[in-house]
């Protein structure tokens, strides 16, 4: 709308420039201005985790993060991790384990899992549970998701070796 200063950041490796009010939640900028679908609106209160994206590799809640925070940073969304021809291990593992029902929460869980596995590539079930504890899944697919994260860890591990 041109009223505000331009905010520049990298979205999935590409430079983007937007000019909303700087306190606009990043979620709305990503979804409405930049056409991203992966991150979801769930609560707008940082309670459910559906909106999670990676900011310089950290999982953040984009629904309460003002877009100005992204200035000069790298934002990665789930679709930026990989696609049909080149799935990220976390995406492949969620397919392999059929780790969802409706899948609405899956974005945030996969995003947080990626940030977590980056720091802890060889986690126990308990560590995975703790890492994902701030994410809500109402369909009850948690047991499958824990398996999928474990599988992704193994896939990544193999890839590195």
């Amino acid at each position: 709308m041109g009223h505000y200063m331009t905010i520049n950041f990298k979205l999935n490796g590409e430079d983007v420039a937007v000019d909303p009010s700087p306190d606009t939640p990043l979620l709305y900028v990503l979804r409405n201005d930049l056409g991203v679908n992966a991150c979801k609106f769930g609560c707008g209160l940082a309670q459910c985790g559906a909106c999670s994206v990676l900011l310089d590799g950290q999982s953040i809640r984009s629904c309460v993060t003002p877009v100005i925070v992204a200035e000069g940073k790298n934002i990665t969304t789930l679709d930026g991790l990989g696609g049909k021809g080149n799935p990220h291990p976390i995406q492949q593992a969620f397919i392999d384990e059929q780790a969802m029902q409706c899948g609405y929460c899956a974005n945030g869980i996969m995003i947080t899992a990626v940030a977590f596995l980056d720091k802890n590539p060889n986690p126990t079930d308990g560590e995975i549970r703790d890492a994902l504890d701030g994410h809500l899944c109402r369909c009850g697919a948690q047991a499958r998701m824990i398996r999928a994260v474990k599988k992704a860890a193994k896939m990544t591990d193999r890839g590195a070796a």
């Binding site: 709305y28 609106f41 969304t77 789930l78 679709d79 397919i95 029902q101 609405y104 369909c139 499958r144």
Partner: protein, 736 residues
């Protein structure tokens, strides 16, 4: 006689031909006794299956994807009968413009209804395609074989397939149901754990949800709801908001208030400001949450005996009784409801994630005063709904707003607060059981009472329009119809109130509460969750009194062989006898046949309990399910596991909180659900019965899961908790 080819080429004469044979295709379909009932409203084959010219097959079910994987299972059924690979299948979204009318997607009935229709339709399509090929190739149909839609004759490949022979053309017939179905022993796709067709799009962040639908000329709307029921809008100061940047319109229709803006955050900001400037009249008071049982048992009700035999009081033995309660509980969908609507000169189009597009169309037409033909409803998936959540209301609200601002696509998004405050919850319930147990450990008398509000206020059709939340708010308000009980055998509050166990003397009485101070409707399994927990808890209480093993005690009161088989298998796979309950640990089982007619599920729960902190740790849940012929074992297991986790969450921690004035569970801190650190390990077993009809399994584990948990907690505590949820305070109080 006309050949198949003549039918396709001369569709004009075909219509004549059929109008001679079957005067009314609707009657023709429904009159044939063996036909799946969905053909009654949608008799034409082309309404269900289309063979395109590009090597694909599209199926048109009347059931919608709710995250239960139904699209995949239905595609499997069609691929199997058609002998084509799964990759060729596309599943069309439900659209009142052309989809079969299968009413609601609820009650675990999609495989039984849509699945059986698609199976018959696909078999018939295959037969016609074979006949066409036989004509073309001048051979007899029995010389033809099919592999992935490609024909061969006497084992030799020919250059002909479905797409060349029919591609793009219509079958142009009414389904007769006469084609032979593939025998289950020849199945290659049905019964296999095929990966869900929609999961790749989800993990790659493709636009597949209604939230991802971006229409031309789309604008953002938010509501300003009253804070509690019965309140009317007295005054609102909208001047400052009107002049804010991006604001297109403030819609006020009676007490219905909404704001439309260019940008989503502008709409949010404006709605917050409007909310702060609103003055509402006084509302009506809510029941006393601390005395729900007293309220349920004293509210005006219609009482009826729903099952009775023998003579209560004619047997000697120990009299035992107990009362169980369940609070109001929420669907608590992860995505607050939303909808899109556009009004133009042709009518109104609504995009919605509700469970029934045809019923929704009828109700919206009535609400906004259009003819039903002028309204088109298109389903788009959202997060799981688990019943009648805010989806229908959002669709109605978007429609109301669209009528005030034609030619724009209105995107209405509820806030988390809108959804929690106004979704129709699952009714609070209370049950009372009294039994007579003899010295041999047999139950003679079984007297059961269940008190509940309605379990459906679905706004289906014109007569249901008054059930929309906003029907009462708009200027030309539509009164809410009287609360309606769902008839048996499905039942509402009385779903699964009649135990599968045999007792010589039994009386089951339903108390249907006719008022609704707190808005309620269908929540997954309706009354079954509460009834199964009550019955199964009491069975354990009696089993303990009789000094019996809980498996043996149930089995000796059962006649149904499949029920017994499920329990026996659970006993084995859960390693029941070998696992000892130690200090602060417990094990329990729960069993039911959902609706006494769908899938059989038995669950064993293993827990540990801290009496000091009141914390219940879910260690493991093992389940066994018999859902007849299994279409997709992994899809079914996913449903069973999800049901157990969801009902564990209901049982341990869920209750809608409220004061005498208003709901106070308005976000996830006010309505916590089970977290990753709290879910149990799962072990899920199926008994496949390929020669038996498929039985709906999507809801079968909810009752048994909660019941097994209740019994495990009682086992660990040595004291019975009869009031859901099993909060830390209640556990501590029981542990003292």
């Amino acid at each position: 006689m006309l050949g198949r080819r003549d039918f396709l080429k001369a569709s004009g004469s075909l219509i004549v031909c059929f109008s001679l044979n079957a005067v009314n295709p609707v009657n023709a379909a429904s009159a044939s006794s063996g036909l799946p009932r969905s053909f009654g409203k949608t008799p034409k084959l082309d309404s269900w299956i289309r063979i395109d010219a590009e090597g694909g097959v599209t199926i048109f079910p009347g059931k919608v994807e709710l995250g239960q994987g139904i699209q995949t299972s239905l595609a499997q059924i069609a691929a199997e009968e058609l002998d084509v690979s799964m990759s060729r299948l596309r599943v069309a979204p439900v659209d009142t413009d052309h989809s079969p009318n299968e009413a609601y997607t609820n009650g675990s009935m999609s495989i039984q209804q849509s699945g059986s229709a698609l199976r018959v339709a696909a078999a018939e399509a295959r037969q016609i395609l074979i006949e066409l090929a036989a004509e073309e190739l001048r051979v007899t149909p029995d010389q033809i074989n099919i592999d992935d839609g490609r024909f061969s004759v006497d084992g030799l490949e020919v250059n002909l397939d479905y797409w060349r022979i029919l591609g793009g053309k219509e079958f142009n017939i009414v389904v007769s149901g006469e084609a032979k179905l593939k025998p289950p022993e020849n199945y290659k796709v049905v019964g296999k754990a095929i990966e869900r067709i929609d999961i790749p799009a989800i993990v790659f962040g493709d636009p597949i949800y209604i939230q991802d639908l971006r229409l031309p000329d789309m604008v953002h709307a938010r509501l300003v709801r009253p804070p509690s029921p019965g309140r009317k809008l007295v005054q609102v100061k909208s001047n400052t908001v009107e002049s804010m940047p991006g604001i297109i319109k403030i819609v006020r229709d009676g007490s219905f208030l909404a704001v439309i803006a260019e940008g989503e955050e502008q709409a949010i900001q404006a709605s917050n400001l409007l909310k702060a400037s609103c003055q509402w009249s006084k509302g009506h008071s809510l029941p006393n949450k601390e005395k729900l049982t007293e309220w349920l048992q004293s509210a005006p009700s219609k009482n009826s005996i729903i099952a009775e035999h023998g003579k209560l009081g004619s047997s000697k033995g120990r009299h035992v009784s107990a009362t169980y309660t369940r609070p109001f509980q929420a669907h608590a969908s992860i995505s607050p409801s939303m909808a899109l609507a556009r009004k133009d000169k042709n009518g109104l189009t609504v995009w919605s994630h509700a469970q029934g597009m045809y019923p929704l169309r009828g109700a919206i037409a009535k609400l906004v005063k259009l003819k039903e033909e002028q309204v088109r409803c298109i389903h788009e998936p959202a997060s799981g709904c688990y019943g009648h959540n805010g989806a229908d209301d959002a669709a109605a609200d978007a429609a109301i707003i669209a009528m005030h601002l034609p030619a724009k696509a209105i995107r209405l998004q509820y806030s988390r607060d809108d959804e929690f405050r106004w979704e129709p919850y699952g009714s609070a319930m209370t049950t009372q059981v009294e039994a007579v147990l003899d010295n041999e450990g047999f139950i003679h008398d079984w007297q059961y009472h269940v008190w509940s509000c309605t379990h459906t206020i679905r706004p289906g059709g014109a007569e249901g329009a008054g059930n929309f939340l906003s029907a009462d708010l708009i200027e030309n308000a539509i009164p809410q119809p009287a609360a309606r009980a769902i008839p048996r055998p499905r039942g509402g509050g009385d779903r699964n109130a009649v135990p599968l166990y045999s007792f010589p003397n039994m009386n089951i009485t339903k108390h249907f509460i006719t008022e609704m101070p707190i808005r309620v409707s269908a929540l997954r399994t309706l009354g079954a969750y509460s009834n199964v927990i009550s019955i199964e808890s009491f069975m354990d209480e009696l089993s303990d009194l009789a000094g019996a093993d809980p498996f043996d005690f149930r089995i000796k009161h059962l006649k149904d062989e499949r029920a017994i088989a499920v329990l026996e298998k659970l006993r084995k796979v859960s390693n029941w006898s070998a696992i000892e309950s130690r200090e602060n640990t417990g094990k329990g089982i729960g069993f039911a046949q959902y609706k006494n007619s769908s899938a059989y599920t038995a669950v064993a729960f293993f827990v540990s309990v801290s009496k000091t902190t009141g914390n219940i740790k879910l260690e493991k849940a093992v389940s066994v399910t018999d859902a007849g012929q299994v279409i997709n074992p992994d899809g079914l297991k996913n449903q069973i596991e999800g049901g157990i986790i969801q009902s564990a969450s209901w049982t341990l921690m869920e209750q809608v909180n409220f004061t005498r004035k208003q709901i106070t569970s308005l976000d996830w801190s006010g309505y916590p659900i089970l977290k990753f650190s709290e879910v149990p390990e799962m072990e899920t077993h199926l008994i496949d019965r390929p020669d038996e009809p498929s039985l709906g399994g999507g809801e079968s584990s909810q009752g048994p899961g909660g019941a097994a948990l209740a019994n495990a907690v009682a086992n660990a505590l040595g004291r019975r908790l009869r009031d859901i949820p099993f909060t830390k305070e209640r556990v501590q109080a029981a542990g003292v």
